[in-house]
Symmetry: C2
Subunit: 668 residues, 2 copies
């Protein structure tokens, strides 16, 4: 497509901004230097994509996506090495262009297989396997989940039985449900796995242990004898990934292939138990904090697409017999999009704040102080759940906001939805995570009741007193934070009361917990949102910003907080904490903020600084030339390879001819 | 797959029901006779599918789905004629098995093209075209939407210019944005369209008019000269449908091809204006009422799948060191699923009640009484929007409730989500519909303020007095209805107040409306939910039911109503209409209802009476043999055609060999 001028509506929208979006870009990418570096790397990647002629997934079949993904993966590895990139953030920016919301078959090799070998091997094992894995001499995945079993380790059925005579483990999949199922890259790409299996040695159940198991021949890539492996079929998104199944029929692996940093099996079969490993706890916390930020980025992509398109798109009229209106001028559309822009910023900031908190707590743990780790762990689980749900609903709203065209794969939105929403289940299913955090909160709440001092992140969990919120028309930021903290404390108090009341009536502890779990989850959601509101407001108010930018960011903070109050108003009204009058004010102000943000909408999404290649969207193009792009996309449809589709000759024509031969004897 | 016994957990769940699900099946399918007929037809269709060896879309590529869909469509037409089916409900039941949540390329021909010819033609036109269309001698679609323009008729750009000398219309697509875009069956299947185009005759703008335009040769199926037509590319779902684009380069059609029942162009180019057509208004009302029921059915499918799977699936533990628990025993899962079961029944019933209301109002209109039509029209728009949104969120929750496996196409859930959620935009985009209804409600509200008598469906729209809700632990059904009516009236009152306040401050009417539109939409949602709660309760309490069934249905009504109160609690608390204490009771009762419904969960979804073929889900199978089915599905994945995928030889091996040749010189 030839370069065209920017769509005039979009160009005009950019001139209306009251702040310089570049300043906001600096704010979220940590200053001008890092922004420059990010842009440099992403520009390189854009150039690479062009030169390599990587195809667009929206136009490929599943098999083609898998192949293209292999090609891109191989290219990415070599190119990143050639560029000497080592910083994980820099690598992420580079990859983001090549694999925009797209999984890749080497992904689990890089983020799970190699790190597991690093962390769970003995020194000898590391020396043997790590260099091999790093040069892809073996390609592996992490095989834990089974067809019938999820993240609950004790439920897994795959067995590893030690045979002391041969000094080997016998690996077996005794049932249908014991088949490994879902690991990424397992179906067609991997020749090795880290296998989680239930170890038996000398007749003793030694729990779940990790084993390094070869599954395919390193040369021919054929599955080894006794190994049944393959792809698990078409999914909602994730087409480029060969998620796989894997069954073993009593295959043998050497004793040395158990990863023995923690547990060990000696030659005679003696099992040596592990010491406690608190650092694992830590790395989960880090990963979850990072997911919060990446949910923010996913939402940011979707809302960038929907906002730009809503400026370009004209539809219907507000004032009769005038031009069709830019759909972004409808208040209902502003409500949808601007609250999501605020959300995206809030989540990105919350991810940064909690990652930062992780790093400082890690320093404490290095000096032997583990006090703050549980709070942070509880917090990161909760906000991971909250942010992935918020992202899911948000991306869905963006798609609705784009009407019919949002459904075209060329909009980029279905890919974001299908490939990012799994964040709700990976690294801990959201409900399960919320309930873990609930345990911590209930414990903290009861400790606070007994007058114990709580860690700062949970300090507001004291029984809410009879105070009232003092929010006025000025939308005082401290009152907004206070409102969320009060609500969270109150929700936790109520969930705890429910739990205690079951216990008092003689319900067993486990069942009482279960019967309170829905309200516990809701309390954790309130807790998460309180953290995010606070983190967003504090980051914005503590940063040194140009007043023009600061004004807009404060509006975003307010919008984010107000919308959460308006849509959960009962939890703020309860007990008379807020008044009907305040709630009405909250709603009025919310609508005023929508109007106030209108001139800045495009600048706010431009500031996310996504190259077009990352958005991969005909609707979200920076130049706004939406319709030409969609028409080009349409013309390239595979069904258009021939003017007359094969199906016409095979089925339609014979059918029509048959009806014709019958005459008009029968009616529809 | 060999027939296996029913999964024991599922079998046991069925024995626990306190009522006979068949009685509930009779309740929703209108008695034993109609149920019998439904089952007879669906069994026939199941047998047909087997004999014809129709393939499963979850295992096909897009092109294959299109072809298979043509084959099935042709088969369905012939078979339905052969069976002599004429009743639209019976045809729907038969088709539901063949095309479960799947679009088909002849669909628009049957539901839009033919009916438009019927309704908008003169007698001569009807005589000429209808028989031809009915025997598929011409196959058409309805081409209104354009690339740059949606449902707003006045915005369309395609032109039809009358040439009185040749007595022809010249059809043209003057811009990129004027291309027709999206019509179903347009891309590859249709050879005709009903085209909506902006008519100019004798230099006069005569507005949008319908034309019958041939686009492909009836024999060769090649596009006619001046016609550019094709498929629009891959979408989120709807793979089997060739949604298309269509551009005209000044092609000519005879004057007789304008559908002239209403407007006419005489030979000399004189334009004759139409009379008012109120019946169109009526048919939209009917279609929207039917969408409400079909959203209920879509949700019912999804929740049947998720509920059965939640009984079969075991995961984690409630009491430590006991067996893994059926996930349906987690309260959080019950909350998700049982509220959706209640929703599905509520929407199905609401669809029936409003369709019934339509039929009785139609009788009134036939005797010249149009008074109730506007209310009903407003109502059907609102509940169409409400129910499609509710379905969307519900299907999404069902998918989350199934964890990873819910994402496999074999779960059936992605198909329901992608192919049913468009109900949010077709037959009127939801927000637009809500705002139409808002106009009616605001008018009614102001009329009531002036003491005017309102039609019964809107009677509760009088300014809410200072009364309090009297709900007690007994969960009085009339108090639940009263609560929803009060809330709706209050929300409308508030939205109106907002509107009036903008007007008072001198904002123009159109802009004041726009600035109140988000609160108007929320008021319409409250209005819709009030109708649905009332319809559900009244249908259940007025039906003659076995007490065992009636008890469970009343629980469902209560659950549905309570959950709506709990999740919009602020709107019920405001003004002190409900107390904190009542709200707490609402929540406690809600959790009690979840536990009470647990033994009936499977019976409640069994009663929807979907054959496995309709669910098309390995997770939702009646026999619960989920894992065997999933493993079979996995093995049939197209990526498993060869053990070693082509991509390995093309990209992976060369890459690995290259890295090997480089030695371990570089690190990851």
């Amino acid at each position: 497509m030839a370069l065209a001028a920017v769509n005039p509506d979009l160009a005009r929208a950019r001139t209306q901004a009251t702040f310089d979006p570049l300043l906001l870009t600096y704010f979220i990418y940590d200053g001008p230097e890092k922004t420059k570096r990010k842009r440099f790397l992403q520009n390189l990647a854009v150039k690479d994509c062009k030169e390599q002629r990587f195809c667009r997934y929206a136009e490929l079949s599943r098999e083609e996506q898998y192949e293209e993904s292999l090609r891109k993966s191989a290219f990415a590895v070599l190119r990143i090495r050639q560029l000497g990139l080592e910083d994980s953030t820099e690598i992420r920016f580079f990859r983001e262009v090549l694999f925009s919301s797209e999984p890749h078959p080497f992904g689990v090799h890089e983020v799970m297989f190699i790190p597991t070998i690093e962390k769970q091997s003995t020194n000898e094992q590391r020396a043997k396997w790590l260099p091999l894995a790093e040069r892809f001499g073996i390609i592996g995945t992490y095989a834990q989940t089974e067809l019938g079993h999820g993240t609950f380790l004790r439920g897994l059925e795959t067995t590893a039985t030690y045979d002391p005579r041969a000094k080997e483990f016998i690996i077996n999949s005794p049932t249908v449900t014991s088949a490994k199922f879902w690991p990424g890259g397992l179906g067609k790409t991997s020749n090795f796995v880290v296998l989680m299996a239930k170890l038996t040695s000398n007749g003793r159940d030694c729990g779940m242990q990790p084993f390094l198991v070869q599954i395919r021949d390193l040369e021919t890539h054929q599955p080894l004898p006794g190994v049944s492996v393959g792809d698990i079929g078409q999914k909602f998104g994730f087409a480029a990934m060969d998620n796989g199944f894997l069954k073993f029929n009593n295959i043998r692996i050497p004793r040395e292939n158990m990863l023995m940093k923690h547990s060990q099996v000696l030659e005679d079969g003696t099992f040596v138990s592990p010491k406690n490993d608190r650092l694992l706890y830590g790395s989960m916390t880090l990963i979850r904090s990072q997911i919060v930020g990446s949910c923010g980025r996913s939402l940011a992509k979707a809302v960038t697409i929907a906002t730009r398109y809503s400026v370009v798109r004209r539809q219907s009229e507000i004032i009769a017999r005038t031009d069709e209106v830019q759909v972004i001028d409808f208040q209902t559309q502003q409500y949808r999009l601007f609250t999501l822009i605020a959300s995206a910023y809030a989540l990105i900031v919350a991810g940064q704040v909690s990652t930062q908190a992780y790093l400082s707590v890690t320093k404490e743990t290095e000096s032997g102080d583990f006090d703050n780790l549980p709070v942070l762990h509880a917090l990161s689980s909760a906000i991971k759940a909250f942010s992935s749900w918020e992202m899911m609903f948000g991306v869905e709203q963006c798609q609705l906001a784009c009407g019919d065209h949002g459904v075209l794969l060329a909009s980029g939105l279905p890919k974001i939805y299908t490939n990012e929403v799994p964040a709700c289940t990976y690294e801990g299913e959201n409900v399960v995570l919320c309930l873990q955090t609930a345990r911590f909160l209930i414990k903290s709440y009861n400790a606070a009741e007994k007058g114990k001092q709580l860690p700062s992140l949970a300090r507001f969990l004291q029984a809410p007193k009879g105070e009232k919120n003092k929010l006025t028309k000025k939308l005082e930021l401290d009152q907004l934070i206070a409102a969320y903290e009060h609500r969270a404390a109150r929700q936790i108090q109520e969930a705890n009361a429910r739990l205690q009341s079951h216990l008092r009536r003689g319900v067993g502890a486990a069942e009482a917990w279960n019967r309170s779990s829905q309200s516990l989850v809701e309390a954790v959601v309130a807790f998460s949102q309180a953290f995010i509101v606070q983190a967003f407001i504090e980051k914005v108010t503590s940063a040194k910003l140009d007043p023009s930018l600061s004004a807009v960011l404060v509006q975003l903070c307010q919008l984010y907080a107000l919308q959460g109050i308006a849509s959960n108003s009962g939890q703020f009204l309860k007990g008379g904490y807020m008044s009907d009058h305040q709630l009405e004010m909250v709603e009025n102000k919310l609508y005023e903020l929508l109007a106030a943000l209108r001139p800045n909408a495009v600048a706010l999404v431009d500031a996310f600084d996504f190259p077009d290649k990352v958005l991969d969207s005909d609707l979200g193009r920076y130049d706004g030339n939406v319709y030409e792009a969609l028409m080009d996309y349409a013309k390239r449809s595979r069904l258009n390879k021939t003017q007359v589709h094969e199906g016409f000759l095979k089925y339609q024509k014979p059918f029509v001819d048959f009806l014709k031969s019958q005459g008009a004897q029968s009616k529809l």
